[in-house]
Subunit: 295 residues, 2 copies
DNA sequence: AACAATCAATTAATTTTATTCATACATAAA
DNA sequence: TTTATGTATGAATAAAATTAATTGATTGTT
């Protein structure tokens, strides 16, 4: 039978490079691991490593088991962690994933009243997922997803929690700053500064520039909002961000929001979770807190 | 440590209703299970069942562990099965999921040349998923999904494999049978027969009737294609199906296809898989076989 | 109310399994 | 060569899981 220890050994040998090193981190002897795996190999009737000299190279079966280990072991650790929290009377950890940069600013405002209302629930925020936010939900990496891009599929529950307007941000001294709105053409001589994501995922691109067939003069990417806004303020380029975010910073930094197009660009942020979980009280409460967030 | 046996016991007690019965199916004694779980409870410092008289009712922790068991145990069994197949020189089993009724007819035509080309790969077709096709892909229930409804998300790879036209099917003696196409209004006095799925997922509804604000006189659902066509032939109603499917049956059953609207309804079937898997040779080959299918 | 049947818990004995120790063997580097 | 470092193996040992036998509790039946 394939046991947890086998997966642990396989994962650790992959990480450490040798049985001996793996044995140390697992607090066992090299001999113990060798015996364990040998027995498993006999049961499965297939080798897990090719023994080349004194190094171990995983066979096809070994590679497959490594993938299984990397997938399954975290699920078991998570289960133990959850149970530990149950035992201590805590409610658990709400693991929130985020797929968009402005979501982070919004989330901060929601998390703080939530933590007050639910003192025995911890909140953990993750931003990188191997298989994207949806995959992270399905794979139990996270329990909740904040995204501009919902997915109405069986097994998942999404609801909009926050409407905002995406606007152009320019320096307060920029010639566009006084206009009530900009047309796509007016950006063809501007430098566009965005977060480092696929260009197709940027609203200003696929909802504004792309339909008009316009390209900005150049395109720079910057990780952090603060630096991005500093760049905009010093007239190195223009950016597209939520209006509320721009207004929040406008006191400190010399920037101004400008509506994108005659109608503006309306956006929504959605909160999603596994359908099976939406009745867990502390999760349900997060939806409520999110809906009644102060915006 | 939470071990496989613990999860197996918890799942089996849930299924069988008692420790004694679970012990039998697990080929152990009731005492063994009792000891195992008791030890686990001590380690986790939480009860798994409430002992009420002589019956066991899962606690919150128990319910949580049951969910973990139902999720994790199949992954381990699958891994063992895969390894067994590796060991025997077989390539494995390609587990294909399907989300649409006409896909099945199409799939049959693809599977047969594939099985010939890959004699050491088995194909298994599943049609019901707890969390939908996407969830089944992410949850390793299936390796490949046939769907009219692709999802371009990180972690998944989709490609179109088959274009077809969705047409109205009527009895050969029906007054619409001679028309070159039908307008939505002409269906307002017809009985519409469909597969038993959500009405919003039906193309004839959301792409044809809905936009025109038309409702059919009545709506019946039928599971099987053959019976559905028999019903249509005997003038009990009209249906919407792929043109190629209608033409295939038209020799045996007195039915006729009619184009939906002036432009017709164009449809595509997509094949999807986990990105991590698309380089597995026998999986890649299925994509190729599918693309070059005889349509 | 008494009785049999059913089920889980417990203790002690036993069996099985995992682990270590000591050592052999193989390889790469000095 | 020699040395250092790695894995494999057999026998001994420690640890663990499992069983057998029994108790106590509960449920259903007569």
């Amino acid at each position: 039978m394939l046991e947890r220890i086998h997966l642990a050994i396989i994962r650790e040998v992959d990480r450490q490079g040798s049985l001996t090193a793996a044995a140390n981190t697992l607090c066992l002897t090299q001999s113990a691991l060798s015996h364990s795996i040998k027995k498993l190999e006999q049961q499965l009737d297939t080798d897990i490593w090719l023994r080349e000299g004194r190094s171990l190279r995983p066979t096809q079966a070994g590679q497959y088991l490594l993938a299984v280990a990397n997938r399954v072991l975290p699920q078991l650790s998570l289960a133990e962690e959850q149970l530990r929290q149950f035992a201590q009377g805590e409610r658990g950890t709400l693991r929130i994933g985020m797929e968009c940069h402005p979501c982070y600013q919004w989330l901060l405002k929601v998390v703080s009243p939530y933590l007050e209302a639910w003192p025995d629930v911890d909140v953990d925020v993750k931003q990188k997922f191997q298989f994207g936010g949806i995959g992270a939900l399905f794979g139990y990496e996270i329990d909740m997803l904040v995204t501009p891009d919902p997915l109405y599929k069986p097994g998942l529950h999404f609801e909009p929690v926050f409407d905002y307007e995406q606007v152009l941000v320019v320096s307060r001294h920029h010639h566009l700053a006084k206009q009530s709105y900009v047309e796509p053409e007016q950006l063809s001589h501007e430098t566009l500064i965005t977060y480092p994501v696929e260009i197709n995922r940027l609203d200003i691109y696929n909802q504004f520039l792309q339909p008009a067939g316009i390209h900005p003069k150049s395109h720079k990417t910057i990780e952090t909002t603060d630096i991005m806004l500093q760049m905009v303020a010093s007239n190195r380029g223009v950016a597209a961000l939520p209006r509320w975010l721009v207004e929040k910073y406008a006191h400190e930094i010399a920037i101004a929001p400008v509506q994108l197009g005659q109608r503006g660009i309306a956006k929504q942020i959605f909160l999603g979770a596994r359908e099976a979980d939406v009745n867990i009280d502390y999760l349900k409460a997060f939806f409520q807190t999110a809906r009644s967030a102060p915006f």
